[in-house]
Homo-oligomer: 297 residues x 2
């Protein structure tokens, strides 16, 4: 998906909020903001939003002198999610449709996102989990996902944020054992999960952990390792979590199951789902919910 002009003011706002979140140095905030404005004045809108997010967070890391400014936030998110894991697993196991429940809790976990929100509201994840089973999905290709996963020899599950990936375990546990590779980012960007976060989350117990080889908060295939790109193109089923993965992969040409919350007007327009909506959307090539599902297909 290309970047829309509406993304630009949002990126500027996010950049300042992110700089303040990870540093108390006001001079650094100003340097970040000026560099983001300068980059924004020249950036090509043909790139997806995660391409621009990657540039912004490179600037933030450089100007704050920290290679992983969200490390504490990620640790805290992982711990908070691990505390919820047992009780949430019990709710999956007792649900009338455990696979559907696992998909829903995985989407609920996508609320643990610091790209758009600058502060963490601990009540949000609890609320999202509590409402997950009764939430009406804006796209519900859960049956298709279960069927495709059941017969797949290889499944690539692309994670999103630290903390969120703990809840992804509940869905990983419902996928065929030994066939799933779970991908994290190649190096830190925002609060997206990297190998260290996957390890702290116990992902290795249910899937083989791989990484994209890239520091984009999404999957920019040109920027990924050859190993990851091969996995991506050869996997029988690809599951991608979160808006950044959606933005960067929705036009990739191959079928992907996107599990995400819709967090802004631009994505709402692109998918046809409302802001705040939850999607389990099977998408091949271009064409959002608006074209594929709103027509009643």
């Amino acid at each position: 998906m290309r970047t829309y002009i509406d993304c630009v003011p949002c990126f500027v706002r996010q950049a300042l909020a992110a700089a303040r979140l990870v540093s108390s140095d006001e001079a650094a905030h100003e340097r970040v903001l000026r560099r983001v404005l300068d980059a924004g004045s020249r950036i090509g809108f043909e790139h997806s939003p995660p391409y621009i997010g990657r540039q912004i967070h490179r600037i933030i890391r450089e100007e704050t002198g920290s290679s992983d400014p969200y490390a504490d936030i990620k640790r805290h998110s992982t711990e908070a999610a691990l505390e919820l894991l047992g009780a949430t697993r019990a709710r999956v196991e007792t649900a009338s449709d455990p696979f559907d429940a696992a998909v829903r809790f995985a989407i609920a976990g996508n609320v643990m996102d610091f790209a758009l929100a600058a502060t963490w509201d601990g009540t949000k994840i609890g609320e999202a989990l509590d409402g997950a089973l009764s939430k009406e999905l804006a796209a519900s290709d859960v049956g298709e996902l279960e069927e495709a996963a059941g017969t797949a020899a290889t499944i690539l599950y692309i994670g999103d944020n630290a903390g969120e990936i703990v809840l992804d375990r509940l869905l990983l546990e419902r996928l065929p054992e030994g066939r799933v590779k779970f991908a994290v980012r190649g190096s830190p960007v925002i609060n997206d999960a990297v190998r260290e976060d996957a390890e702290a989350s116990g992902i290795g117990q249910v899937a083989e952990v791989v990484d994209t080889g890239s520091d984009a908060p999404g999957v920019i295939l040109d920027d990924c390792s050859g190993e990851f790109s091969e996995l991506f193109s050869l996997a029988d089923v690809v599951i991608a979590k979160g808006q950044g993965n959606y933005e960067s992969l929705c036009d990739c040409g191959r079928e992907v199951f996107f599990l995400t919350q819709v967090k802004c007007d631009v994505i709402a327009r692109d998918t046809g789902a409302p802001v705040g909506g939850w999607m389990c959307l099977c998408r091949a090539g271009h064409g959002g919910l608006s074209s594929q599902r709103a027509a009643g297909e």
Copy 2:
């Protein structure tokens, strides 16, 4: 008042909204946005927000090829306010304190602002007028203003937006006849009133119309005509309407009565009044409501 780092994302958002408001040319929107980002990356924060607003709206006029892109909006605002004038004047005349009422309706008129809001909600002015007499003022130096104006030989009243200035007439009618000069901007910027708008509003019936000689959406004294600067420094009483005039004159060194609505967090912090608050604030030199009045003076 200097520009704060928080003003920058707001300016970017405003620039895009303004470009869209005055032009349907998407290529022009992008050119505006890129130039504003570029200018923002280099701008000095020691300037007041109206200095930056002036730069942005010069860019918008250049890129849209219109010397007064808000002309239609201003005409519509003036007509809407003129329709409300008679009934509002009757409410001033029957009020227990007509001077206080006139001040309140003048502040109510400050809602007719397109700097921060990109769309016009016609119900807002009616609501503001209806609530004016009972609204609690965050700063209420109305008695001081009435007393100072009563003995002044010369009063300079600096207007803000088209439409709003129609309601300023109600206060102008309560000031000593023949002693008031009413200042508008020297040339078009946003929906700020210029001479043409003052004429359409009938200001000439109650005051002598002058202009700042500048296209800033505020009063940047270095940018004003010598004639205006002299008026400003020699007037016995200066009344300044709106946030742009506050931002550019709050540190000017001389006493000014600011009549404005508080429209953003930055001004709320600077003045100590809440966002949405209304002020009739007498201020000399530096020191906002927070220092002068919140202390109970």
